[in-house]
Structure formats: C-alpha cells, structure tokens
Amino acid sequence: MYALQVWIGALLTLMIFSFLYKDNPFYKFAEHLFVGVSAAYWMVVGVWGTMVPNMLAKIHPPLVRNILPALANAEPEYHYIIPCIFGILLLTRLINPIAWLSRWALAFIIGYTAGVRFSRYLQSDFVGQIKSTLIPIVAVNDSGFSIGMTFSHVVLIVGVVCGLIYFFFSKEHKGAFGAASRVGIYILMVTFGASFGYTVMARISLLIGRMSFLGEWIGMILGWFS
C-alpha cells in the first residue's frame, strides 16, 4: 500500500510540475482533482470533528449512540439549537430566492470577529507593542555600559517611531517630520528585505521537500531493479 501511495503521489507531483514547461491537460487534471479532494477533506473533518460531537451530540445525545457512544448518555443542551439555526441560515446562500437569510449568520460571524478582535488587538498588538518599545535607551549589562545594545535599542525605538510617522498621512511629510518619515522608509525597506529573504527561504524549503519525495520514489524504482 505504501508503494502505491508513493507512486500515486509521485505521478501527481510530476503532473503539477509539468506546468513549469507550459499549461497542459495533466496539470489541469491534477489541479481540479486537488480542488475537489481538498473541499471534501475540509467538510469531512469539520463534520466529524466538530458538528457531530459539539452540536448533534449536545442537542440530542441518543442520535450519536452508534458513532460516539461515550456521549450518548449525556444530558441534552438545547441552546445548541442556536448555532444550528445560524448554520442552516448560512447555507441558504446557495438558494438564490432566500439567500438574504444568510446575512443573519454572516452578521453573527462578523459581530463575533469584531468583538473579539477589538480587545485582543488592543491588548496584544497595540498596548503590548508600545510596552515592548519602552526599553532603556542606554543599555547596561553586567560589565557596564554596552555600546552595542545601546545602539540596538536606539535603532528599535527610533525605527518604531519613524515607521509610525511614515504611516501618518494627516500631516504633510516636510521638514523634521519629513526627515523622520524618510528614516521610517529606510527602516521599512530593511524590514521588507528581511521578509523577502525569509520568503525565498520558505519557498525553497518547500521545493526541497518535494524533490526529496521524488528522490524517495526514484530510490524505490531503483531498488526494484537492483
């Protein structure tokens, strides 16, 4: 079975890689197969992982007697009908005449997201980040004044402030404000360069992973002949 798995995987991998030469029927076949299989995977995992134990088993526990017997004797919790109703409302999006009902479910999703992100972004990404920027400008370690750490701290504090100044568009970037904005751009360019370097690293890692897998497949073929 493992050999069959590797063979199917290798053939599909080569079909996708064939796109690098040019678009072709093999690539299109693999691409469409991927779309269908992944959509079904998400549905199956979602239903078995969450819908059955966390909704059906809560509303009517005997319903899952032959699926999750461990949950069949629990007390029903009828308030779980609320997400069930909202979920069905969401599905009405597929039926054009009553698609407007899905807005109620979307409103819940968006209201929840807005409410929960308001507090989390305020704490972690705003107050938390300001707190992390309030570091000593003059850095001292065990052996006294540290010029390296001081320089780093200054870069951080000045970088954050100038970067924020660059994004402030309510005032014209002239004079001292403009100079600070220019420093901000340079800091951001270093940031984007670092991001580019890391992005290249990530993509190459993924390619190495696939080549490694194809190497395993070729090794399997050579193993059959030796």
């Binding site: 807005r103 819940f108 209201g111 807005a114 308001f118 780093s152 800091i187 370097g197 690293m201």
Partner: protein, 226 residues
C-alpha cells in the same frame, strides 16, 4: 427587516464580547464562552457552504459546456469520492465509530496519496516563480530598493550555514560584521522595529473597523442589495 436584524445581531454579539472583557463575571463570562462555541460550530457550516458552492459552480460549468468543462467532472468526482469515503469511514474500524483518519481507512490513504502531494507540490511551484521574479524584477533602481536588496542578501546568506564561511576570518573586534551575526541583528532590531510599526498601525485599523462594524456604520455583510 432584511437589513435591520443583521445590524442588531452584530451589535448585540460584538457588544457582549467587549463587555465580557471588562466584566469577566456571570452572565458575561458564560455569554463569552457560549458565543465562542456557537462561532466554532457555525464555522463548520461555512465548510459545507464551500463544498456546496463548489458543486454548484462546476455543475453550471458542465451544463453550459464552458471552457475546460470536462475537468469539472474530475473535480466533482474527486469531491464526491472523498466525501463518501470520509462520511462513511470506509476501510476503517467497522461501523461509524472510530477515527475517520484511522490507519487503513480509505480517507487516510487518499489524504496521504492524493491530498498531501498535490497541496505540497502546488506550493512548491512558488520557489520557481520567486527565482524567476528575483531575476527579472528585483532591480536596485533607487536608494530604497538598494537597501532592500542589501538586507535581503544578508538574510539569504546569513540564515544558511554558508554565511559563516564568508566572514569567519574577521578579527574579534569586527565580529559584529560576521554575516550570521548581522542577519540575526537585522531580524532582532530593524526588522522588529519596522514590523512593530506596521503591527501598531494595523491594530489601530482593526480597532477602528471593529467599532464601526459593531456600531453598524460599516455593514460588509449586507452586500450591495438595497
């Protein structure tokens, strides 16, 4: 009613969650928990909606014999096959009990043989396009682009073992110019400064947008319908 009820839902849910942050006691704490559970369950219906929409789009494509319509059959066939073997846990422990990803199940086999290599290879294609884009488009046309390039070079070299061999010969006083040291410094200080400025800016945007959504000023879920 079509527009008013979703706005009310968003307001009630969003406000309840913000209040729960400031009043972490009953009934707000249990409201926060329950709303979170409802959100988790409704998320599964979103997967089902995605699957349903996929079927609808591809069935229309087949019916109207649009470009590449035969591949839509591949998509739907893959979707239905994966769905059936997943929902009925074919090949796994008898009946519907047990893990749908159990060793020996068809769903697990399809994940390892089809889904896994297809998704991995799709993303590994990006390595080639990143290389091509770097060759054709990455030009040091301006000061800012040059800074970006230099930063990217230091990261690309410094975050691999080869970086050590470029500058290992530097004397102790110039150790800070050792490429891996420079790469780590860039990530820890200028990159952090730039990313922090961006993060604070995004946080302010999220906080403002969340408030606007909760208060009904922005209604993305209502669409364009009057």
């Amino acid at each position: 009613m079509r527009r008013r009820i979703p706005i009310i839902i968003t307001f009630v849910v969003g406000t309840a969650l913000i209040l729960a942050m400031f009043i972490p006691h009953a009934p707000f704490s249990s409201l926060d928990e329950n709303l979170s559970v409802y959100f988790d369950i409704i998320a599964v219906f979103a997967f089902i909606l995605g699957g349903g929409n996929l079927i609808r789009v591809h069935l229309v494509k087949i019916q109207r014999k649009k470009v590449d319509w035969p591949y839509s059959i591949v998509c739907i066939a893959g979707f239905l096959f994966m769905l059936i073997i997943g929902f009925f846990k074919v090949g796994g422990p008898p009946g519907l009990r047990g893990d749908f990803l159990a060793e020996g199940s068809w769903f697990r086999f399809m994940f390892e043989a089809v889904f896994n290599p297809l998704q991995a290879t799709m993303f590994s294609l990006l390595a080639f396009f990143v290389a091509s884009a770097a060759y054709r488009a990455f030009r040091a046309k301006t000061k800012e682009a040059t800074i970006l390039l230099i930063s990217a070079f230091i990261i690309l070299v410094g975050r691999t073992p080869i970086g050590h061999y470029f500058t290992f010969w530097l004397p102790k006083q110039l150790e800070f110019l050792h490429i891996p040291t420079l790469a780590n410094w860039i990530m820890g200080w200028p990159n952090t400064a730039g990313q922090r400025a961006i993060m604070i800016g995004i946080a302010l945007g999220v906080i403002a947008t969340s408030l606007r959504i909760i208060l009904g000023i922005e209604r993305p879920y209502l669409g364009a319908e009057k």
